[in-house]
C-alpha cells in the first residue's frame, strides 16, 4: 500500500521562501514597473506594453544590444579555442599539475572591480606599464580613454585574461578523465594527432565544454563591473554594453518603466539563447 503525506512541503518551504524574496518578488516588482508610468508620490498609471515597444524600437537599445552580442561573440571565439589549447598542453601528471592549476585559477579569484581597476591602471598612458610600453617604447598610439578601438581591445583582452581559465579548467577536467587505453588504441589504429583530438578528446570534452560555453555566454552577456570600472562605457558610448546602459537608464535617468521593460527583454534574450544552445548541444544524447 502506498502512503502519501504532504510533509515534504515543509522541507522545501525554507528554500521556497528564500527564492521568493531574492528572485520572485524583485522580478515581479520589475514586471510591475514595466507596465506602468509614475511621476513619483507612489502614483502609477497603466501603460500596457508601451515601454517594451519603445525600448525595442530605440536606436540606443539596438546599438547597445549589438555591442553586447559583438562583445560576447568575440570573447567566446577567443576564450574557447584558447582554453582548449592551453588545457591540451597542460601536463597530465607530475609535480607541474598543481602548479598549473593554481596559476590558472588565480585570475578567477580576483574580485571583479579589482580586475577592472588593475587593467585601468595597467593600460593608462604614461602611468600604466602597458600604456607606457605601447606609447613611449614601441611608439604605437594606444589610449583606451580616447580611442574606441583601443577601448574594445582592452576590455576583450581583460575578459580573456580573467575568464579563459574557466574554459581551461573545465576542459582539463574533461581531458584527464579519458582513460589511457583510448590514446593507446588510437596509436595502434594509426590515428594522427588531429584525429585523436577530433574523435577522442573533443567528444569526451563535449559535456564540460557545453557547460563552459554556457557559463561564459551568460557571464559575458551580463558583464557589468569590469568594463564599468575600466572604461565606464566610453569613450563616448563605444563600450556601453547592455548592463551599463541599463544602469544609466534606471539609476542615472530614473526612468524606472523603460528600465524595467529593458531588464525583462535582456533577461528573455539571455534565457532564450542559453536554452537554444543547451538544447542543440544535448540533442544527440537524449536518444
Amino acid at each position: 500500500m502506498k502512503t502519501e503525506n504532504q510533509r515534504a512541503w515543509f522541507f522545501v518551504l525554507p528554500v521556497l521562501l528564500l527564492v521568493a524574496f531574492n528572485a520572485l518578488v524583485p522580478i515581479m516588482t520589475v514586471v510591475n514597473y514595466s507596465v506602468q508610468e509614475t511621476f513619483g508620490n507612489n502614483v502609477f498609471f497603466w501603460q500596457g506594453l508601451d515601454w517594451f515597444e519603445q525600448i525595442l524600437r530605440s536606436d540606443r537599445f539596438q546599438a547597445a544590444l549589438g555591442r553586447q552580442f559583438l562583445f560576447t561573440f568575440l570573447i567566446l571565439i577567443i576564450e574557447v579555442p584558447l582554453g582548449i589549447i592551453i588545457a591540451l598542453s597542460m601536463p597530465r601528471k607530475g609535480i607541474w599539475v598543481p602548479v598549473c592549476l593554481v596559476l590558472m585559477a588565480l585570475p578567477m579569484l580576483i574580485p571583479w572591480n579589482v580586475v577592472g581597476a588593475m587593467w585601468n591602471i595597467f593600460t593608462l598612458p604614461k602611468i600604466g606599464l602597458l600604456g607606457y610600453l605601447m606609447n613611449d617604447v614601441l611608439g604605437i598610439a594606444y589610449d583606451m580613454t580616447q580611442n574606441p578601438f583601443a577601448a574594445w581591445v582592452t576590455i576583450i583582452v581583460m575578459d580573456v585574461w580573467h575568464w579563459t581559465s574557466l574554459v581551461v579548467l573545465l576542459s582539463y577536467a574533461g581531458l584527464v578523465s579519458i582513460p589511457d587505453a583510448y590514446f593507446q588504441a588510437a596509436k595502434i589504429d594509426g590515428a594522427s594527432p588531429w584525429k585523436v583530438f577530433r574523435y577522442i578528446q573533443l567528444p569526451k570534452m563535449k559535456t564540460v565544454l557545453t557547460i563552459a560555453i554556457l557559463l561564459r555566454f551568460m557571464d559575458s552577456f551580463n558583464i557589468y563591473t569590469e568594463p564599468f570600472v575600466l572604461t565606464g562605457g566610453g569613450p563616448g558610448n563605444s563600450t556601453t554594453l547592455l548592463s551599463i546602459d541599463l544602469v544609466k537608464i534606471a539609476l542615472g535617468q530614473f526612468d524606472l518603466g523603460p528600465a524595467a521593460a529593458m531588464s525583462l527583454i535582456y533577461f528573455a534574450i539571455t534565457l532564450l539563447v542559453s536554452w537554444l544552445f543547451y538544447t542543440l548541444m544535448t540533442k544527440d544524447d537524449a536518444k
Binding site: 588504441a185 596509436k187 594509426g190
Partner: protein
C-alpha cells in the same frame, strides 16, 4: 603475420633498478609461432600486461629485444609494428557509426574505399553486428562495444599479432561465454597469431593452445592446458590452475622416499636434487577415500553440484579431495589414497620428481 621472439627481455618501471625485485619483468625468453593462440595467465601484478605492452610497442623494454620474423622492432612505435590490441575496457569512437569505427584503422593507413568496404562487411559478418553498422557506437551495450573493439583489431588482414588484454572484464557472465567462443571461432577463421592476457584460468584454458603462466615477472610454465593441469612445473601453477587448486603438503625426504605426516607416500618417479624445502603436490581429483592409506578425519564437506570437495585432516594438515557419489559424515575417520602417478615432489617450489615413462 609473423613469428614473435622475445629475447632477454627485462623491464623495470624505475629509472635505476638495482636488485631483481625492482624489475616488473625478469628476463623473458619466449618465442611464439605464427598463427598460434596463446594465453598469458597470472595473478594481477605478475607482469603480463607489461609484457603485452612491450610487444605492442606502448612500452620500451629496459633491456632485451622484440623480434617479429627476425626483424628487430624493439624501437618501433605501435603504429609501425602492425599489431592490434583489444583493451580491458571497450575503446570505441563515440561520435562515429559502427561502420566508421571498424573502418578507422584502415582509413588511417590510406586503404582504398572498396577494400575497406569489403573488409568491414566481412568482419561485421563474423562478429554478427551487420544490423548495427549504421548506428552510432555510443549507443551500444558494453558487450557490443567490446565486439566492435575486437572488430577494429581484426579488420586489418596483415597484422602480425592480435592481443587481448583481459577483454571480458566488463562483460556480463552469460555473455562472456558467448564472446569467448566467438573469439576461438575467429581465431580458427583468420589464423592470426593471438595473445590473450587474463587472470581467469577458464578463459585462458578454453581460448589457448599454449598457456604461459607468469608469476612475479617470470614465466613459470608454458604448456597446453592439459600439461598445466596434469603436471604443473611449479606449485604456483598447481595452485593457480584447477578448482580447487593442487594440494601442496610439507614433506620430509629421507633416503629417497617422501614422508608426509610420518607416512611414506609413493611418488611418480625418482626424486632429483636435494636440500631446500620439499613439498608434495597432488590434485584433489587424484585423492580418493579408501579402506587403506593415510588415516584422516573429515573436517569439512562442500557440495559444488556434480561432485563434493571434501577436506580431511591428516595429522594437522588439511588435504582436499574430490569425491563423487556417497559422502562420508563430517568428523568421520577415513583413509586417503593418493594416486602414485599423479603425486609429485616439489623442491623450493619447482618439480623434483622424474616423470614416469
Amino acid at each position: 603475420m609473423a613469428k614473435i621472439t622475445l629475447s632477454n627481455l627485462r623491464h623495470s618501471y624505475m629509472p635505476n633498478p638495482k636488485g631483481p625485485e625492482d624489475y616488473a619483468l625478469k628476463k623473458i625468453d619466449l618465442s611464439w609461432d605464427d598463427g598460434g593462440a596463446y594465453a598469458l595467465l597470472g595473478p594481477s601484478g605478475c607482469g603480463k600486461s607489461t609484457l603485452l605492452n612491450i610487444i605492442s610497442g606502448l612500452l620500451m623494454p629496459s633491456e632485451g629485444k622484440v623480434l617479429f620474423d627476425n626483424n628487430d622492432v624493439t624501437q618501433l612505435p605501435p603504429d609501425r609494428r602492425n599489431i592490434a590490441q583489444v583493451f580491458q575496457f571497450p575503446v570505441i569512437y563515440d561520435t562515429m557509426t559502427v561502420r566508421n569505427n571498424l573502418a578507422f584503422p584502415l582509413r588511417n593507413r590510406g586503404m582504398s574505399e572498396t577494400h575497406i568496404a569489403a573488409r568491414v562487411a566481412e568482419i561485421a559478418a563474423m562478429l554478427e553486428v551487420e544490423e548495427m553498422l549504421d548506428t552510432r557506437a555510443a549507443h551500444l551495450s558494453p558487450d557490443n562495444k567490446q565486439k566492435i573493439s575486437m572488430g577494429r583489431g581484426l579488420v586489418r588482414d596483415d597484422v602480425n599479432v592480435v592481443m587481448f588484454d583481459e577483454p571480458l572484464t566488463v562483460i556480463d557472465p552469460h555473455l562472456k561465454w558467448k564472446l569467448r567462443s566467438k573469439l576461438k571461432e575467429l581465431h580458427q577463421r583468420v589464423r592470426a597469431t593471438m595473445i590473450y592476457v587474463t587472470h581467469d584460468q577458464t578463459e585462458a584454458l578454453t581460448f589457448a593452445d599454449q598457456v604461459i603462466v607468469m608469476q612475479d615477472g617470470e614465466v613459470v610454465q608454458i604448456g597446453t592446458p592439459v600439461e598445466l593441469f596434469e603436471r604443473p612445473q611449479h606449485t604456483f601453477v598447481g595452485h593457480f590452475i584447477g578448482s580447487p587448486g593442487m594440494n601442496v603438503l610439507r614433506t620430509e625426504v629421507r633416503e629417497g622416499s617422501a614422508f608426509f605426516q610420518g607416512h611414506t607416500v609413493p611418488l611418480e618417479g625418482t626424486i632429483s636434487g636435494n636440500g631446500g624445502v620439499t613439498e608434495l603436490g597432488i590434485r584433489p581429483e587424484f585423492v580418493s577415500l579408501s579402506d587403506s592409506g593415510l588415516p584422516a578425519r573429515i573436517r569439512n564437506i562442500s557440495d559444488v553440484g556434480r561432485h563434493a570437495v571434501v577436506e580431511a585432516l591428516v595429522g594437522d594438515t588439511p588435504v582436499k579431495a574430490i569425491v563423487e557419489g556417497e559422502l562420508p559424515e563430517k568428523g568421520a575417520a577415513v583413509h586417503l589414497d593418493f594416486r602414485a602417478d599423479q603425486t609429485r615432489l616439489y623442491r623450493d617450489g619447482w618439480i623434483a620428481t622424474e616423470a614416469a615413462s
